[in-house]
C-alpha cells in the first residue's frame, strides 16, 4: 500500500498482484482459446476411438501410450 502511494505521484499507481481480472477481459480468451485447447485434448484422448474426424487409426496409434497412461479409455 505504501509503495502504491509513493509511485502514484510519478505514474500510474501499482496494482495489487492479486487484483481480480474483469470477467469480460477473460471471457473471449476462455471461449476461443479454451475451445481450441479442448479440441487438442480430444485428439489426444478420444480421436479414432469412440468417434473419428479422420479415417484410419493413425492418430490413435500415434498417441496410444499417452492415451492409456493419461487415463483415457482406449482398447
Amino acid at each position: 500500500m505504501a509503495e502504491a502511494v509513493a509511485s502514484a505521484a510519478v505514474s500510474a499507481p501499482a496494482l495489487s498482484p492479486s487484483a481480480p481480472l474483469p470477467v469480460r477481459a477473460v471471457l473471449p480468451w476462455a471461449l476461443f482459446v479454451g475451445l481450441l485447447m479442448l479440441v487438442a485434448l480430444y485428439f489426444v484422448g478420444a480421436e479414432q476411438g469412440a468417434t473419428a474426424v479422420f479415417s484410419g487409426e493413425g492418430v490413435h496409434e500415434w498417441v496410444h501410450d499417452g492415451r492409456h497412461l493419461l487415463g483415457f479409455p482406449c482398447h
Binding site: A4, A8, S11, A12, P13, A14, L15, S16, P17, S18, A19, P20, L21, P22, V23, A25, V26, P28, W29, A30, V33, G34, M37, L38, A40, L41, F43, V44, G45, A46, G49, A50, T51, G56, E57, G58, E61, W62, V63, H64, D65, G66, R67, H68, L69, L70, G71, F72, P73, C74, H75
Partner: protein, 276 residues
C-alpha cells in the same frame, strides 16, 4: 490493458504446461512404459492361446492362423509409440490443460480468499489435478492395453468425459458455495463445508453413473495392473506439481508489475468516457 494481462497469463500457462509435460513424459517413459510393455505381452500371449486350439482343430494352417490373431497390423511401431508418440500425447495434454488452467486462474485470481498469484496457481493446479484427473480416475481408473473391449469404447469414452465434466462442474460449484458461506462461517469453515459438499456430490455421482462395463479380467496380473495405475497417477501428480510451481513463478512475476489502469487513465489527458 486487462486483455494483454490475460493473454500474458495464457501464454505462460501454456509454457508452464509444456515444461510440466516434459517432466511428465520423462516419468511416463521411465515408470509407465514397463507396465504398458508388460500388458501388451499379456495381450499377445492371451491372443496366441486363443488362436492355438482353433488351429489345432483345423489340423493345418496353424502357422497362418496364429499371427493373424496374435498380432495386429502395425501402423505405428512400438518403439515410436513409446517415445515420440508418448511425448506427443503428454505434451499436447500438458500445453492444452496448462492453457485451460491459466484461464481458470484468471477467473479465480483475487476472487477466492486473499491468496497471492503464486498460491492461487498452486491451488488451481491442485484443483485441476483433482477434478480433471483424480476424481474421474476413482470411478473409471486408467487401464493398460489388453484390458478393454474395443466394442465398448464408445460407452467408456462417453462415461469418462461425462465424469470429468461432472467433476469439474462440482468443483466450480464448491468454489461458489465456499465464497457464499465465507462471510457467515469464516474462511476455514466455509472451505471445509465446500470441500465436504464436493465429496458428497462426487460420491453421489459415483453411485448414479453406471459401472465400467469392461471390468478387468480375473486372469490379468494384479501386480501389473497396480504398477500401471500407480504410474498413471504419478505422471499426473508430476505434471500438476511442476505446472503449479512454474506457472506460479511466471504469474507472480507478470502480475507483480501491473499498474492500475484506472489510475493511469485518471492521470492521462483523456476524457472520462475513455474509461472501460
Amino acid at each position: 490493458m486487462y486483455a494483454s494481462t490475460v493473454r500474458g497469463l495464457l501464454v505462460r500457462g501454456m509454457l508452464a504446461g509444456l515444461i510440466a509435460g516434459l517432466f511428465a513424459f520423462a516419468v511416463a517413459y521411465v515408470v509407465g512404459e514397463p507396465p504398458v510393455r508388460g500388458s501388451i505381452a499379456v495381450e499377445e500371449a492371451t491372443a496366441a492361446k486363443e488362436a492355438a486350439p482353433a488351429a489345432g482343430h483345423a489340423g493345418h494352417g496353424g502357422a497362418e492362423a496364429a499371427p493373424a490373431a496374435g498380432e495386429e497390423e502395425e501402423l505405428v511401431s512400438r518403439p515410436v509409440q513409446s517415445t515420440v508418440g508418448l511425448a506427443t500425447g503428454v505434451l499436447v495434454y500438458g500445453v492444452a490443460l496448462g492453457g485451460i488452467a491459466s484461464l481458470a486462474f484468471s477467473f479465480v485470481l483475487g476472487r477466492v480468499g486473499g491468496f497471492s498469484p503464486r498460491a492461487t496457481a498452486a491451488l488451481t493446479a491442485a484443483g485441476a489435478f483433482t477434478t480433471v484427473y483424480f476424481v474421474p480416475f476413482l470411478k473409471y481408473p486408467a487401464s493398460p492395453p489388453a484390458v478393454g473391449n474395443p466394442d465398448t469404447i464408445g460407452q467408456r469414452t462417453t462415461l469418462f468425459f461425462l465424469m470429468i465434466l461432472l467433476s469439474v462442474l462440482l468443483g466450480v460449484g464448491a468454489i461458489i458455495l465456499g465464497r457464499r458461506l465465507a462471510p457467515r462461517l469464516g474462511n476455514w469453515n466455509a472451505t471445509l463445508a465446500a470441500g465436504g459438499g464436493f465429496v458428497v456430490a462426487a460420491a453421489l455421482a459415483f453411485l448414479v453413473l453406471p459401472d465400467n462395463t469392461d471390468a478387468v479380467k480375473p486372469e490379468f496380473p494384479a501386480a501389473l495392473l497396480w504398477e500401471f495405475r500407480v504410474a498413471s497417477v504419478t505422471v499426473q501428480v508430476v505434471m500438476w506439481v511442476v505446472f503449479g510451481i512454474v506457472f506460479g513463478v511466471l504469474a507472480q512475476r507478470l502480475l507483480g508489475r501491473r499498474t492500475d489502469p484506472a489510475g493511469a487513465q485518471a492521470t492521462a489527458p483523456q476524457p472520462a468516457s475513455a474509461l472501460g
